[in-house]
Point group: C2
Chain length 336, copies 2
DNA sequence: CGAAATAGAGTAAACGTTTACTTCAATCGA
DNA sequence: TCGATTGAAGTAAACGTTTACTCTATTTCG
């Protein structure tokens, strides 16, 4: 069995209260001499305080829960790394929960996290259902959303403005001289990454006086590479005279790139493509993909900071809209 | 404050012992009538058992720790998903620790996990130093290595045989008719992913009677995309008459692909490339990358299963060599 | 010099559970 | 009928800490 504070106390011939005070660096209550004695005993026995006992009495677990759907591992893993970094810096652990986009698993996890008495939760990249929200408020700990938001329920979020970012991407294409642009969208039912991006696309079209008929949007079920492939095939089949495409995710863009290659359509010579996310793959694509960046790592960090702020102050804190920007690489051609 | 078992007991007019028995489905010690009463009180108060109190008395936290360096997020995130899946299935939580390949951070985390009384640990994708090993045995809980191993220290591991896999890749190239093959290696000092792959490469060369001078190996510091780019540039500069290259990681392969594209070298027409890992990017590459697969998800699962087995039986369990195989895509050309 | 202040250290309660042990009433068998 | 058995339920100790409170010896100061 692992040594307990009692063993240390016995070993150093003091009371457990004294040991506790020394270990917690309570400013008062012991002499330098006994401190040395105790520290020696600690070394000797290789004593490690039991965090669960501590947690019980302090009512603090120094642990947060993070829930992500497994979708598009690249996106979520960057977010995760961001939150891990600040959690670690602040002395907290993170329990990682992969929801697999399953309602049951999410609810299961929320229950579990509640029992484990995590002090905060970060919920990422999927839409917040009523059941989730209820479960979260029932836990009575701060929560923050990352890369998602909810109009209906008041939880602070950190994300980029999807509509804005889509607008920026589209406007960029237009400024490069494109007049007929297709959008390859993810699920339009998705109220956070689906619809808003379509809206931003259309708004840019309108603002620049382009006609909607010339600039169709094709929508898929999700935002994956496979979706990108089939979306692109549909686009080509339709033989619209489009010169550029705005993909709602980098994975879609890369899928498009890939089938373009197979169809012998040269990018950007014959067709320009802009992505969305700035995942690592966009840099690695051939040609390197011009895309709109979401600062994922920073978003993870900000979300965690927001959460810890909430945990300290007891108030929710303000949502953060993260800046997005175009990363110019080589998949978009400037038209004369 | 959250309701405790006492509140439930009071509310149902029974003792806390009874509540506890009912909640734990102890087969005996209460009537159906009181059970119903208690369950109603639980509902009413929305009571959730406090896992930390439970953990204290049972000496079980139902939690494992997972340590990964952040290197190449794609690789580790797949592993992570694998372990998460089985951990969840078995009712355990996973504390995710990103070591950033830093010795200090790793040791910090090991200490923390020890204090949190995790019941097992999974250590992945980096070399096990003496200090780590000591820290792990000091915790006195089972541990398993994944995607790494240690000759010196006896911990069970699950990984593919790197030398074998490199051999397979090289032999494949040779069978496709290639006689001059370059290897783009990661860090040759790396005793798990570096040296063994080089050894496998050389052994295949030898076994098939090819001369080492015709088949140079270029080595970098790491296994990244950037490394792949510079490695490939060096290869071309050297103007060896090589017809195929074996890259020690998919990221290296994709880096090579990318600079080949820029240098106007057609793959696989002019040059064949085979990768290693079978990350998602290899499927997305242009052309789709032929590579040797490591079944990462399964490796994560196996590692977790091995760990839980160890936790139950109290004995370390047997290491597992996972199968590897060639995934044929389009980056390797068959020579006449 | 003696009372008050102070510093060092110990005692014990509390955190929310589980569980061995006890108590009590009802049922059973002879 | 009565002791033995059984089943339901309660009591209290224990898990490893923290901390309010207490005690004692020493220092301080008028």
């Amino acid at each position: 069995m692992k040594p307990t504070i009692k063993d240390v106390a016995k070993h150093a011939n003091v009371s457990i209260a004294t040991v506790s005070r020394i270990l917690n660096h309570t400013s008062v209550g012991y002499s330098a001499k006994t401190e040395k004695l105790v520290m020696e005993a600690v070394k000797e026995l290789d004593y490690r305080p039991n965090a669960v006992a501590r947690g019980l009495i302090n009512n603090k677990t120094q642990t947060i829960g993070v829930l992500f759907p497994d979708v598009s591992g690249m996106l979520t893993s960057e977010l995760l790394y961001g939150v891990e970094e600040v959690a670690h810096r602040l002395g907290h652990s993170v329990i990682f929960c992969n929801t697999s986009s399953s309602g049951k698993k999410t609810l299961d996890y929320l229950q579990l996290l509640s029992e484990k008495r995590v002090e905060g939760i970060i919920f990422g990249s999927s839409v917040l259902t009523e059941a989730y929200y209820e479960a979260i408020v029932a836990m009575n700990v701060p929560a923050v959303l990352v890369s998602t938001k909810s109009k209906k329920y008041q939880l602070p979020y950190v994300k980029v403005d999807d509509k804005d970012a889509a607008y920026t991407a589209t406007a960029y294409l237009i400024q490069q001289g494109h007049r007929r642009i297709a959008m390859l969208s993810g699920n339009p039912e998705d109220s956070v990454a689906g619809k808003p991006r379509i809206d931003g696309f259309k708004e840019a079209l309108r603002d620049y006086g382009l006609k909607g008929e010339d600039s169709p949007v094709y929508a898929a079920e999700g935002f994956s590479y496979e979706d990108g492939r089939s979306l692109f095939a549909r686009l080509i089949e339709a033989a619209t005279g489009v010169t550029a495409v705005f993909a709602a995710s980098d994975e879609i863009a890369v899928g498009a790139l890939s089938t373009a290659y197979q169809m012998n359509i040269r990018v950007p010579t014959e067709l320009s493509i802009i992505g969305y996310d700035n995942l690592k793959i966009s840099e690695m694509a051939i040609p390197p993909l011009t895309t709109v960046e979401q600062p994922l790592w920073e978003m993870g960090k900000k979300a965690a900071e927001l959460l810890f702020e909430g945990m300290e102050t007891g108030t929710p804190g303000k949502s953060i809209i993260m800046p997005h920007r175009i990363i110019e690489r080589q998949s978009v051609k400037q038209l004369v």
